[in-house]
Subunit: 383 residues, 4 copies
């Protein structure tokens, strides 16, 4: 059994909850879950035990009511048993057309964190999934500075994700082991402050930024070109969608949060810099969760020949990430059993856009996949 808490009951968190329950009800296969049911811990062993949000329209409602906004299908009745609790806000939804409140509104940050840790203890959580909306943030890289910010109640310096991770470390220390999965761009597995804290606290961090959408595909296409020693001249990657995350990214500060990522995948895969334009481009409500992507790659082949590739797609954003989470919570439980405190690059390299720790780079996902299987104790597929 893996006991899971969801932070941010939006699109991804909701599709995750629906999908897992539908699988447990035998209504759905394992498509979109990379390891399907190969792991010793089965999908059917996942139990959602808690959910947090700061949207006043969700707090206090049961999960059944909340998730049905995101999916026209039949919603599993089992979700009626979980109530969405008030979480930490720290202005993470500022500028968005959502009325929000946080536990810290009427208490100190330390008190809010302690309250949450107590709740997690009652829930007997193994894994905490962070799927909050993309935040504007600054990394710490220094544990002392982080602790000081918490103690000083420095609400300008901290984001919800950073506070939640801190809470997770307190919790893990108390109960002897836990996992924090950071599926959004805020640097956590790439921030040494948090990694140091994790190692001391029996916490495992997976992160950062779930590897969905156009970027992993771009990585594999670039690897394809690299292996043929084709010289890439330019890369364009547009994407536009209509879910809250695209709306959040229209705010400049948040969009910049994507820039804290390490020297992009381009350099990591190709071995040289290429002029590129790769970023979330816009928000268009009618596209909904099924974003439109458009990529253009121009490269030089043998004898100076110039080739072009254009890749377009309509891709459901949230199910892609939710499917990865189904693996990550189970791999997290395995990591607890192995006491691999800190982070696990082999897991991050396949599942995350910006795999921590910071000193490691991106590798082609196909290679990362095989290495992840090896780490998980599974047979490689083609190696």
């Amino acid at each position: 059994m893996v006991r899971v808490v969801i932070l941010g009951q939006g699109y991804v968190g909701s599709v995750f909850a629906i999908g897992v329950e539908r699988i447990k009800n035998g209504e759905l296969g394992y498509y979109g879950i990379p390891l399907a049911n190969e792991l010793p811990i089965k999908v059917e062993n996942i139990k959602i035990v808690g959910s947090y949000d700061v949207d006043t329209d969700k707090i206090g409602k049961n999960l059944y009511e909340v998730v049905k906004r995101y999916d026209g299908n039949k919603i599993p009745e089992s979700l009626k048993n979980i109530v969405v609790r008030k979480g930490i806000h720290l202005k993470s939804l500022r500028n968005l057309p959502i009325r929000a409140e946080g536990l810290e509104d009427d208490r100190s940050l330390t008190e809010a964190i302690d309250k949450i840790v107590e709740e997690w203890k009652k829930m007997k959580a193994d894994v905490i999934i962070n799927v909050c909306t993309t935040e504007a943030f600054r990394p710490f890289n220094n544990k002392e500075e982080l602790i000081k910010a918490i103690e000083n109640d420095d609400r300008e310096r901290l984001t919800a994700t950073q506070a939640y991770t801190y809470a997770a470390s307190l919790y893990a220390k108390d109960v002897g082991g836990a996992v924090f999965i950071n599926a959004i761009p805020t640097l956590i597995a790439n921030d040494n402050a948090f990694l140091e804290l994790a190692k001391e606290s029996n916490l495992i961090i997976f992160g950062d930024d779930g590897a969905t959408g156009a970027t992993p595909l771009t990585a594999d296409v670039l690897a394809h070109l690299a292996q043929r020693n084709r010289y890439v001249r330019s890369i364009v990657q547009f994407n536009i969608g209509g879910n809250t995350d695209f709306l959040a990214l229209t705010h400049k500060e948040r969009n910049r949060s994507k820039e804290y990522t390490k020297s992009s995948i381009v350099k990591d895969i190709l071995g040289y810099e290429v002029p590129h334009y790769i970023k979330p481009t816009g928000y268009l409500e009618p596209l909904g969760d099924r974003k439109f992507i458009s990529m253009h790659i121009e490269y030089v082949s043998f004898n100076g020949a110039l080739d072009e590739l254009v890749i377009n797609g309509r891709i459901n954003d949230s199910p892609a990430l939710a499917g990865l989470l189904v693996d990550l919570v189970r791999l997290g439980k395995i990591a607890i059993e192995r006491e691999e405190w800190g982070t696990v690059y082999e897991v991050n390299a396949f599942y995350m856009k910006n795999p921590g720790p910071a000193e490691k780079g991106n590798i082609p996902r196909i290679i990362a996949y095989e290495k992840m299987r090896q780490w998980a104790g599974l047979k490689t597929k083609w190696l």
Copy 2:
């Protein structure tokens, strides 16, 4: 030094010759050559020593004159020293608007083959590259039947490629080792008749059908989806071009030659059959050697979500293959030194669409690339 003979002095053979000479002249980098100059045998060590064709408009002309039809750039003067010789026709250009003649027009097949073997001995050839136009053919799979067809002068049963491979085996036996690279769809490395012959004759066969164009990219995209356990519902892959090979493929029999390939890459990579339409679709002269490709892939993600990818490209056909040949001739020489008579799956798996031997399948190219590097004695890149 690797001494190379080219069979079929068309687009690919010409771009290969031009590119190699331009590199030797320091006019061109190594782009489009997968292993660049990492091998102990350098690109500069390649020496073209012979060329064959059956187009009466090419026979007897020097290489400089012939190749300049295919490339607007400055042509290296060094190509003036090689004369295009008459090769074996066996109706390989039938139906095409080309006046052709073959050595066998006024002698028996055995005599024609013997003549060629004698010429190769004088040229001291190490590697024979087959880049003839796509043929309509039937595989043998039985060495005795093959030998009988040669002895009986059975011109209906044999294609030029099959006769050339037979010649290569005679030659290899005589000189103690040689390589035959089959870059076209005719099954050679996948035909046990030829593999058996090769093993007995100190011949190494690389083949079949150089892995260029949309297919290797499709393989990597499918591998990308497979690793995320996305269920592919349908695959479309159109391609259309204006070079002689596309013209040849408008003839039904030749197009069928593509169908002798083993259970397509789809099953090999995904592990299940998918309804697909993957074939050369048409000929359109103004597109020239820069073909237009269009792919459509629809797949199921987590929670039943339906995603779509569309990939379009303009890709120069001949330089892509010519760049692979620059590696293959050098890997061939290494294989001779190692006496790996027969075929080398590790080489074929990366460089060929239909890697021999027949009992082996396709694997994701990114994996094949690393295994090929290991075989070649090079460090893997990401493993």
Copy 3:
């Protein structure tokens, strides 16, 4: 009131029936109907009075049962009142995986035609819509030859569509006026044999081949380039789908039926010939009625600059045509009132891929649209 008979109760005929009834029930707007509800004859005035097919699995069933195979939505109950009758087969479904029978199986062609004419009289039909599966056919262009083929029971020479049109002319003569809408490629409005017959018989023919899919869009894109005097070098237009019509087109003879069309739209719009590849390319069952199209156009701009356009689409085939039929049946009724026996180019030019009569060509659809509005007595939109 317009009383409509449907010939061929497949995808298009079914979506037409569903859509019209849903509109009458107030469940659906007018989207996809070019003239919406601008005409004096309203969509609500359309009444389906008969339906014919040769699929043994449909004959004798009511329309409600048949159409629900094609649409997952709620089907209007009103369709339960119409029974699908046995029509004329003449091997129109030969080679397709469908068990078919026709009225002519146990009587002469003349008797079969007479039986149908009698039925139409009882139905008081105004408009007969032909949406049979694409046929292999030869045009007549000579009225006497056509009549002789009917009289001689020449089942090899005639197709179902040709026999139905003949029946329509007998019917129109009897009742004083009727319309035959030929929405498939068989040449009818482009065959002088039928036009002559129509003029003598008070019949109006609209045709041929409903202007849906990629072709009208291509026409408008080419017109766009023509007006800027850009020189088009090549045109590719692939399309692939999974409905019965694409399956039918995989049979060579039927595909050729597309070739009877006049000198393609390319010449008509651009004023010069361009190398092009424009044809239904393949059948892929999972794509269903929502076909995938891919177009590539390369052209020369000012100062010799070379531009490229690639257009991809997922387009629902049957609703597009069904929407046009909603206009055509009403325009047909108007044409009866005006006694415009023969055919009406102004209507065909906008609604048909191959607008009859044969001596007229294609014009940009945007222009055709305005002229059609003028014919229909509506204000032009932008002229």
Copy 4:
């Protein structure tokens, strides 16, 4: 003879100059010029008599030297006779990596304008083409305010284009007639201040913003959908390029200059608002003048069916506009002869993205084309 002055000797101005001279030398056909050589005034009658820029690297050089930076072809020698003069800057190149100076640097604005008017008189200019870099601007809409800004030397309020147009009105008044073609987004033909001035001064203004790139194509595709009454749900139009104009548009203020355009083409063509994302998206140097465009349109067809179109293109920006200018200068001369002072909607509607006057909207280009032909005294093509 049409005597032409170019303001802004960048990519467009240079391709225009090269193309016109190459045509006069018989080296180039009329492709990319909408009216080819149908007008009574021939392309060969165009004479470039002056050129202005503010780039210190261009001022004082002859046109031959300047234009050869933009085109690898043979440059006509005739361009050696024209020297690029210093123009008005008014910070139009601010933020761009270009060292610039203007006539107004060491004199008052009024003096600078007078100097230019005197030069134009010596050149006997008929037509002044404005192809400066896109500016950040505010429209006037009030003639008195405009005149006051000039008189008060208000350099913050005015842009180069506004000052040039004012100069053109002084010049036209003096010589009895002239044309100012505003091919950039600054509102001139849409600004009543300038139109009023033009009518009083015998000036004709064509503008604003030459109709090239993705927008006119989008207009025609939307018109195509509108005529079929398909309901458009969302429109995406990305474009990215590597010329100075894309670089300029990365600056927010300049990008906003695109927003002064009237209620976009979307509403004008479809008749209703649609959520859309249509704007220059980015700058990527290696793409050069051949921009990459990507459009996505989703719409509802009959019976609620949902269709999608994706249009990608590589389009040479500058030749497209330069080709239009070849018509515009000749149409301008015709307008002088007809004394149509002010502006000419029939010309603007086809050639401009934002056709003035402000109270008029966009119409489908195909219709606009025919109306423009009628205005020009040419036979319509399909009407």
